[in-house]
């Protein structure tokens, strides 16, 4: 029953997501700017063979594509928590709690919706990158795998923001708390900058940063092709974190009242 309930919670979010044309348009334009502008700006820099060696590719655009996909997921995760705060404010959460819906299904459904949204936006970014000349080493199956990783990573982020939102009542506070974590997570990862070029202390942080573990398999498969021996640890890390977050978020709503 919990999954059936979660599906309808997710369905509500997705109905609204695909109806919000402006929001989708922005999610297309934003990576377009990042890839088009920043990617090209850094292109001269990657002409340097030393840098190209660090990046593992001569195309910074290709290097940053996985980073942009995950950045999108990372910053999109806050919306899940926001939607709960909003539902609480308009009384919709009360309505759900008054119904015989499994309580854990409320955060789970929102997490599934966030994952699907993240996957959809990731697909748009991949298409844009392709149009800008990025070639994927393992073709369509690799791209699909990259999107699956992004979706799993999205579960972590949305689960995190939902867990926090189960305690926090104002959107402003939630936004501040979630960004407090997401910004450093982004910039201490290898999403936009190669770990090999980091000072040792930063590289250590990057090594345990979950964003890095999401970037690594995506980058591996998109840029260099399938290589499970360098991907499976990262894949297990984010898979495990996603399961843990599902559990935590679900639990934080189990005893939820409106008090």
């Amino acid at each position: 029953m919990i999954f059936a309930d979660a599906i309808y919670v997710a369905r509500r979010e997705l109905l609204k997501f695909f109806r919000a044309k402006t929001r989708i348009l922005v999610t297309v334009i934003q990576p377009l700017i990042w890839l088009g502008l920043m990617g090209n700006m850094m292109q001269g820099f990657t002409q340097n063979p030393f840098v190209a060696n660090l990046l593992g590719t001569e195309s910074y655009l290709a290097f940053m594509t996985p980073g942009i996909i995950l950045m999108n997921v990372l910053f999109g995760g806050v919306f899940s928590g926001m939607s709960i705060v909003w539902d609480r404010r308009i009384g919709y959460l009360e309505k759900l709690l008054a119904a015989p819906v499994s309580r854990a299904a409320i955060p789970l459904g929102k997490m599934f919706a966030a994952a699907i949204q993240g996957g959809f936006q990731g697909l748009l970014i991949l298409l844009i990158a392709r149009a800008l000349g990025v070639r994927f080493a393992s073709g369509f199956p690799g791209a699909l795998f990259a999107l699956v990783v992004a979706m799993v990573f999205s579960l972590i982020l949305s689960g995190f923001s939902l867990t926090i939102a189960s305690r926090i009542k104002s959107q402003e506070t939630l936004m501040a708390v979630v960004n407090f974590f997401t910004m450093p997570l982004m910039f201490t990862s290898n999403a936009l900058f190669p770990r090999e070029a980091m000072p040792a202390w930063l590289a250590t942080i990057a090594h345990i940063n979950p964003v890095t573990h999401a970037v690594t398999p995506i980058r591996q498969v998109l840029l260099f092709g399938w290589n499970w021996s360098s991907m499976w640890v990262s894949f297990l890390v984010i898979g495990g974190l996603a399961l843990g977050m599902m559990f935590l978020a679900g639990r934080s709503f189990l005893r939820a009242t409106v008090e």
Partner: protein, 337 residues
């Protein structure tokens, strides 16, 4: 069977505020039960304890004989709830709101389609079902909200301030829907309100609640009767010599409490209740005695008078102390977020 029974319900909020202070009452099946009280009296808190949104500090609540805390999965299916805030997702259409609600109650698709059409037609929203809810008026939103609460054919409907912030015509329309639900669908309805006319107009029984306690509970008519009943003011046009005989005949009537006369020929008659039914008989009696009536006036106590009698303050709490304002604010903040 009792639809709802509440025994010694206590709800303490953090900070030690006693929102509900040991109340007990029972709602009979198929009645409209009104909960009347000012803002912050504990009305919403009581409802939220009954439907399982808040955990009571103490007390026992049963719905159709089933303990709410022990078996919420069962009791929730019997309950429909429309909150004070209109909890409609305005980015979805009316139909989508209703459909999802049906799914949250685990109804099969076919049944939602069938029942959904029924409730939308009942509330006059069928033609607008495909429009986004943000294009609806306030009254339509409220109707949609109540329609959603009915999708799973609940036995008991909880309406928290159903007409708050609606204009007079819309309020009257909502009243008609509520009456129709009880009459045609044999539903038990619990409604809270701080509008006197609403409680008076709709409820079979009214509980007056203030500061977390029930001060009075009875039929609206009976509550009004406790205040000394209806007052009839009478003036005669002619037949002065026969008035004395008529007055003593009136005084002897059952239901007449008191009769006083002023030197300039005005007579006041206090009757227990239903002064409106008393007047035709009075006219008949006057005719028999050959007395011509010049004018009759009836004043009935309103629920306002009853309310003031019990709480000793205006419902708007114009003169409430600072402490009471604080208390009301805290409660509202807790309950409507």
């Amino acid at each position: 069977m009792e639809a709802v029974s509440v025994e010694n319900l206590i709800k303490l909020y953090r900070g030690g505020i006693r929102a509900v202070d040991g109340i007990s009452f029972a709602i009979i099946e198929r009645e409209i039960f009104g909960f009347l009280g000012p803002n912050g009296a504990g009305k919403s808190t009581t409802i939220k304890c009954i439907i399982g949104l808040l955990r009571p500090t103490a007390g026992n609540i049963r719905i159709l004989g089933v303990d709410v805390e022990k078996d919420p999965g069962v009791t929730k299916r019997h309950i429909g709830y429309a909150a004070q805030e209109t909890a409609v997702d305005d980015q979805l259409t009316g139909w989508e709101n209703l459909y999802l609600q049906g799914r949250f109650y685990h109804l099969p698709r076919e049944e939602i389609r069938h029942r959904g059409e029924e409730v939308l037609r009942l509330f006059g929203l069928w033609e607008r079902r495909k429009d986004p809810a943000q294009t609806y008026s306030g009254g339509m939103l409220k109707r949609l909200d109540i329609a959603c609460a009915l999708i799973h054919r609940p036995k008991i409907l909880f309406l928290d301030e159903p007409t708050l912030g609606l204009d007079v015509q819309t309020r009257k329309a909502i009243w008609d829907y509520i009456r129709a639900l009880r009459k045609e669908h044999e539903m038990t309805i619990f409604l809270t309100t701080h509008y006197m006319e609403e409680a008076d107009e709709l409820s079979d029984r009214v509980a007056i609640i203030d500061r977390g306690k029930i001060l009075a509970l009875d039929k609206p008519g009976a509550l009004k009767a406790t205040l000394g009943g209806d007052l009839i003011t009478l003036k005669f046009a002619s037949g002065e010599e026969r008035v004395a005989a008529l007055l003593s005949a009136i005084r002897a009537w059952p239901g007449v409490r008191d009769l006083r006369s002023s030197p300039d020929g005005i007579h006041w008659i206090w009757v227990d209740q239903r002064g409106d039914r008393f007047i035709p008989e009075l006219v008949q009696l006057a005719l028999e005695h050959g007395v011509v009536i010049d004018s009759v006036r009836l004043k009935r106590p309103t629920l306002d008078d009853v309310y003031l009698h019990y709480t000793g303050r205006e419902i708007r709490e114009a003169e409430a102390s600072r402490e009471e304002h604080y208390r009301a604010r805290i409660l509202q903040r807790r309950v409507r977020r």
